[in-house]
Symmetry: C2
Subunit: 409 residues, 2 copies
């Protein structure tokens, strides 16, 4: 009776409790009386329950659990009428909009629980619904009505994917150690450590903003890409504020400063520096060529079809919505591990994203109108020590931003 069954490792048990408290108290910053929407998957029960406990202790009114099972998505792709695969019941989006209306908190536990189950499914079918992603989530993010946070949750199959050389228990234990380090749970006061890091990233974002850049260039190791910016593009880091003034960190961990580019002014070729998972498929050796903002050629060693299908989804899906810079002080860069999960990997290296922009990073109605409004948002890593990042000011002056992974501003 009483407690839920827990993992047998006392250290992991401490990580679970510490991570739950960090996400509730700092990441989402749950306020007394709030509803807390909690997105989870089978296999993440231990952390989900710890988050719920922590949220109720913080005064939450109700924890609204929504579990997404990727095996049901697989069954659908396998057996349902292909003509119905885009359908999502209207109450999925209505719930998300209602969460915004009541000013709820939102927490999502990420990390692939069954990373390879779509391998034998036709990518043209697998990518057709975007679940668990919903277009309404982007609406709510842009309206800034919810304080939200996405946090990784280690699970056995994910650990096996990241550490194929280790046995089950050892792989999981290692993944927990890495995630704990990336989330600064190994600091005496993780919240203070995050405040310090976000203060630092805020200063860098402010300095880049002061340069009044017209574009950003990535050069080296097969990449020569120019990403044009909007007049209203603003550099920000992963510390946001709701319309009601609740500060929150939408990603734990977060190491990036980013902005929304001009979706019509991206030119050149970019080579991904890490593999990525999109629509439950592995994409490796990716190169993309952009002309006038549009991805006109997508090639890869593996998974190109998946990405091509995704970029045909809507008019903005083949254009950029985000450009982000990450320095080598990032704890994830330091680990040197590929996690096959965007939340973590995108904080290891500078990256760009195909799809919708975060409006928080744009000022002015006319530029918000011009920004990418796709319902897609797929980040991929393009930075490394061998890729130099150069800012070009509106006056045409070149300013180094990152060289060998270190800030130059």
């Amino acid at each position: 009776m009483g407690r839920a069954p827990t993992t047998t490792h006392p250290r992991t048990r401490e990580y679970v409790a510490a991570l739950a408290d960090l996400i509730v108290r700092f990441g989402a910053n749950v306020q007394p009386g709030q509803i807390v929407a909690l997105g989870s998957e089978p296999g993440k029960e231990e952390l989900a329950r710890a988050v719920a406990e922590s949220a109720y202790k913080a005064g939450a009114r109700f924890v609204d659990l929504a579990v997404f099972d990727p095996y049901l998505k697989r069954a659908r792709a396998q057996y349902a009428d292909p003509a119905t695969l885009r359908f999502v019941p209207p109450w999925y989006g209505q719930r998300v909009l209602a969460l915004g209306e009541v000013r709820a908190a939102r927490i999502v536990l990420t990390g692939p629980v069954a990373p390879r189950i779509m391998d034998d499914i036709d990518p043209a079918l697998a990518g057709r619904d975007m679940l668990p992603a919903l277009r309404e989530s982007l609406t709510v993010v842009n309206e800034r009505t919810t304080n939200w946070s996405v946090v990784p949750c280690p699970t056995p199959m994910w650990a096996q994917l990241v550490h194929p050389d280790l046995e089950g228990e050892a792989a999981l234990s290692r993944l927990w150690d890495e995630i704990a380090h990336a989330c600064r749970l190994d600091e005496t006061d993780p919240v203070a450590a995050w405040r310090a890091r976000l203060d630092q990233l805020t200063q860098i974002a402010t300095r880049i903003d002061g340069l009044r850049l017209d574009s950003v260039r990535f050069v080296g190791a097969g990449t020569d890409l120019t990403v044009g910016l909007l007049g209203g593009s603003r550099w920000v880091c992963g510390r946001l504020e709701t319309v009601g003034g609740i500060t929150h960190a939408p990603n734990i961990p977060t190491e990036e400063v980013f902005t929304a580019p001009d979706p019509e002014r991206v030119q050149g070729v970019v080579r991904a520096t890490k593999p990525l998972f999109a629509a439950s498929r592995l994409i490796t050796g990716l190169t993309v060529r952009f002309e006038d903002g549009r991805a006109v050629a997508i090639d890869a060693e593996q998974g190109a079809d998946t990405l091509r299908t995704l970029t045909q989804r809507d008019p903005g899906a083949a254009r950029l919505g985000e450009v982000a810079l990450v320095d080598r002080m990032s704890r994830i860069a330091g680990l040197g591990t590929v996690f096959y999960d965007t939340l973590i990997d995108e904080n290891a290296a500078s990256h760009i994203a195909l799809g919708g922009a975060i409006e928080e990073a744009i000022e002015g109605e006319s530029d918000i109108e011009r920004a990418n409004r796709s319902e897609l948002h797929i980040d991929f890593m393009i930075g490394s020590d061998d890729v130099e990042v150069i800012g070009v000011t509106r006056e045409g002056r070149e300013v180094p931003l990152l060289r060998r992974g270190s800030w130059q501003v």
Copy 2:
């Protein structure tokens, strides 16, 4: 790669597939193009995934999984402000009403996954929200807009509760064997077996209806209870039809014939013949005294407080909404096992339910108005071989209905 992890017992794997097909093809009778709402709990993934596969093979448009985690309910009762414990987000009920509007199918996997976790929680707190039950479910049931079915799903902790004398694997294996037998999965053609049993129960219901009873008396083994009926009370069995004409079996297994009593004409004392679980609490040795339809005294060896709290919920919660007769040909009666789950146990013996009536069992607007409209519905078993069931006709004639567990009609 591909398949979900499954249990190691080949026989259990066969049971899972057979039970999934039975509930999809016969229980809920899923139609091509339907949305299928699937209610599950952590630990029931294997059956939930098999149900989804079977539903998509049957032409389902979308399987809408909703997972309820009882550990979150426990955390809420432990840590949330008690003043907020009745709150349920409005989108919970809206989803259920929307399922009715779009004429969805609904499937629920029952069986307690964590049966004892509320033992140390104040019953006054534990019973305050009724989740996962929702009042809107009763609305949708009564509007007959969804074809639905509730089916048991064996899980390890439930197996330990039912068979405390067996080791983990053996207990689970035994519970599966029993559930498979109760669900007639051991028949060559389970669907044909269910059709035959429901034909038989339909005939018995028709015969009792023909008696034009004014009340039903239960006499023996500490019970002497008279349950008055409405003029419009109709005896039915567990085979219903939606407004659109989709036949379905709302409970698998089902062995009962039942009707909706007059909530103001119940007199006498009744002793429960089996323990029950209500609001996650065990209630044993229950006796209830009724006066003019109202439960005026609730006593028990264990759990009386829980039931007293529940019956104070709304005006109908202390009155009856169902009276049901079960004969000893029931496969569950034959097993002799106490399952601590209403879906199974209520089909082992005649029973009554405190709370809302099923309108399918009432004819005529005025009697539907008079029937119990509580949002509570708690069945408890009052039948055994030692309890005789006697019908009293409108002319005052006594007609034996069940004697030593055998039909007399």
